[in-house]
Symmetry: C2
Subunit: 293 residues, 2 copies
């Protein structure tokens, strides 16, 4: 089968054999934004030379801004419900393929707040087979960090934090950016200070201005400020962890494993790292459950 | 005398008579950013035809990025200490004038966090003569909203919230902007909902993503979302008000009086509006105290 993780800014295609092993991987920058209007050509290029009949795709390609919308499934939901809600996609120039879009998930919290994910549910499906029954907390950090609560193999609820997007906006376009060396490497001491400061009883809007003051008074240097800001934002994100959380499963790109691991350590939470290619395993698991392979 | 409020993006010049009345006002977009490198020419144009000897200037013109730095005075500070710390500025082409820069204020809070203001201290000096002794809370909303605590005619402490800057970044440059009609007029119902939601026990990073979901599910329309976001951010700013606050003095441009008034009403806090030309009165009061007029 062919598994495709097609997000906003990139596309990853995996060829998977009958035992569920990834045998070939392709990657392109033709994400949904760049590929808009020519999805069919991009898909054909991505699978060129791969003859497998079944193609399963997840991510923003199944959103309203994507190729076709695969409606959100409401939580709680496990592999069964997600697989059952996969939407078939008819591609005229690929008549011999069976192509499916994985739905996103939505949740309505006790206080009435809605949240959504699209793409991450597939990575979690890839992780589920590794976890025992019971309650687990999973975090998929990034532009929009997802914090997910699993109960006995189902996604019970989740929350999104705009951590990565806000970090980029502030680091590149705000008044703070003028004081910062935006491309400085990770500075663990400044980062830890940010994580700790996020626990103070102050609102984030105030703490963001204080980043400026730390630079102005020379308390932190231009190459320490981005790490401090990152720590402050990740620290705020972690303030929303359920009380008593002691272990968090991380599905993250390598560059995010270090800061999230350090931040969790400072909060006394154990981080368990999982491979970033959970998407391929999740797409395979959904294809199996749907009877495609 | 001549009073000049010279901020980052604009300059306002006031001619003030012997009784302290503003008799003429000029305004230009030659703020510190635009005027950088040609401060002398901009000042001469701003006071063209005004022969008064004393010129007092406040705002970012006295910062490190301005003409010359007038060092921060540390809180608590009243008119006396601010006036005493005014820095003389020698302008070769204006040998007959006595030109002074008003210092900014800095504060170190009990938890070690520094904060700064530059320009707002002068507006507060203009307000001080209207207030009785005792304790007062003052807010100067804007790009960087200042919340100031006055004790018996002195600025005891203050906090800054990056409310306005974050609103602009999110409304214009974030993923949220795609769902919004950025130029929609104020929508009181959506705004009030944002103010109320800011009280939920959720982190702002999560609540910002929820703005997207409200748009995605059609709960709020494209022209309601900016008001909701504004309410959410102003609500978070007000979460930092001291417990038991019942009256807040507002020094604000007209366009901000309405939303801040509405937000304060929802929190049960009485708003007292003060004219935005407090800067001219403050500069006059400082000149009097310094013995210039």
């Amino acid at each position: 089968m062919i598994a495709i993780d097609w997000g906003t800014t990139s596309l990853r295609a995996f060829r998977i054999d009958a035992e569920g092993r990834v045998v070939e991987t392709r990657r392109s920058s033709d994400g949904v934004l760049a590929a808009s209007g020519r999805f069919e050509a991009v898909l054909r290029a991505a699978i060129d030379g791969w003859e497998d009949t079944s193609i399963v795709m997840s991510g923003m390609i199944g959103s309203r801004q994507g190729w076709r919308e695969a409606a959100y499934v409401e939580c709680p939901a496990g592999i069964d419900r997600i697989a059952a809600a996969m939407a078939p996609l008819d591609v005229p120039s690929l008549p011999d393929r069976r192509i499916w879009l994985v739905p996103g998930l939505s949740v309505k919290d006790a206080d009435g707040t809605h949240d959504v994910m699209r793409g991450e549910e597939t990575q979690i499906c890839g992780l589920l087979r590794e976890l025992a029954a019971g309650r687990h907390l999973v975090c998929l950090p990034g532009t929009h960090s997802k914090h997910v609560e699993l109960h006995d193999g189902r996604i019970a609820r989740f929350r999104t934090a705009m951590t990565g997007e806000l970090f980029d906006l502030l680091r590149k376009h705000s008044l703070l950016s003028r004081l910062m060396d935006a491309d400085a490497p990770h500075r663990p001491v400044a980062f830890a200070r940010g994580v700790d400061d996020a626990r103070r009883p102050r609102d984030l809007l105030n703490q963001l201005f204080a980043v400026r003051t730390l630079g102005l008074f020379g308390t932190l240097s231009a190459d320490e400020l981005p790490s401090y800001l990152s720590g402050l934002l990740i620290g705020h994100e972690l303030n929303d962890l359920p009380a008593g959380a002691d272990t968090l499963h991380l599905i993250a790109a390598d560059r995010l494993l270090v800061p999230y691991g350090e931040a969790l350590a400072r909060r006394g939470v154990r981080a368990v790292n999982h491979a970033d290619h959970a998407a391929a395993h999740g797409l395979h698991a959904l294809a199996v459950r749907h009877g495609l392979v």
